[in-house]
Symmetry: C2
Subunit: 220 residues, 2 copies
């Protein structure tokens, strides 16, 4: 089984492992048994040395001159990434963004099962989004306890995000994916990942400002 | 003025520059004149050596023992990131996700001005989102030409994303931010950045699987 050999690896390693996992999962389903880090690198537009380095933090997966065993590595990455189980996830806020998230088909495909949305608006509470119920915030704690929910997605307006976070922490949530453009404070042992959609546009603006193929090729 | 000294730097450097820029912009507005890479690192939870390295690709901004001139570095980063101008941006798809994007206040704050949404639904076309008009797809080319739009955001269902991309490329769009969970093909010299919301949840699932503070501290 995969082990963590070292404690220091870049934050981006985990996101790259997700990409490797998907490519390998697809190869596995197509019946491909082995792949070299070079071939995987070409497929994913990542340097093969990067792939080898990322994987080396978690174990020794390649056989010299043989490439990776696709099925085995897929299974190991699924385990490393915690994708060998289903995660019930709740969405805070049933506005446009919350609904869009509830309808985002890729979450379910990757084991993240949106089980409820929460809101306080009378217009929204009681309705459902493709079969997923919109519940009132005062049902939060009970719902989290009864459904063993550990992950919540925040899709409320910025000025409500911290209050909602406090409620989530008090109700026992362990990890928060935050789409509100504010920095959240949590005191307890809760993981928070904030997604800033602006940085992606800024990256594009950068590329537009320096429309140099050479540079772009390094990035893409 | 900032110059690009080297062509090889990590993809993540640009996103980190965005973070540095915002922190510095805030410091600048608070009247703070200088900051060391160490102090900036503590503030942003990034290693000071990382900050120095990221900046070194673009020039020599620090004075030994003096720290960075906050105002000057802010100005340089604004220029490097192409944020010294306003970018008109269109949103393809006026469903829940498209509307949420049109309402995302941080874009405007960072110089990205959503100027129109495009859709084909009779129910949606002709309406507006907080003053931003929803236009029919057959007005796309004319609108892009007349308004010098170079950046488009794709917020249509996955099965429509490639067709919409082709229309955008034909209409002269230069950069695309894609939220549809599909890989887009573009033939011409058009930049595409795809945002996969699932990788963030997978990162959280990973943290949940390995709830070790030591590890988490490396990441956060």
């Amino acid at each position: 089984m995969a082990r963590i050999n070292k404690y220091k690896f870049p934050k981006t390693t985990i996101e790259r492992l997700s990409y490797y996992f998907r490519a390998l999962d697809e190869l596995s389903k197509r019946g491909i048994d082995t792949i070299s880090s070079e071939a995987l690198g070409v497929k994913l537009n990542v340097k093969s040395s990067q792939i080898r380095k990322d994987l080396s933090y978690f174990g020794d997966f390649g056989k010299r001159g043989m490439g990776y065993d696709v099925k085995y590595l897929t299974k190991e990455l699924r385990y490393i990434l915690g994708l060998d189980r289903e995660w019930p996830v709740i969405v805070m806020g049933a506005g446009h963004f919350g609904i869009a998230i509830a309808q985002y088909t890729m979450f379910k495909k990757h084991g993240f099962n949106i089980v409820a949305l929460f809101d306080v608006s009378e217009e929204r509470v009681g309705k459902d989004v493709d079969g997923i119920k919109i519940l009132h915030l005062n049902e939060l704690e009970k719902f989290i306890g009864e459904n063993n929910v550990e992950i919540a997605i925040i899709a409320v307006p910025p000025n409500a995000a911290q209050d909602v976070t406090n409620l989530l922490v008090d109700a026992g949530i362990k990890a928060i994916l935050n789409f509100a453009p504010v920095s959240l404070k949590v005191e307890k042992d809760v993981r928070v990942l904030s997604v800033d959609l602006t940085t992606k546009l800024e990256a594009l603006a950068y590329y537009m400002s320096y429309t140099r193929d050479k540079l772009w090729k390094v990035f893409s």
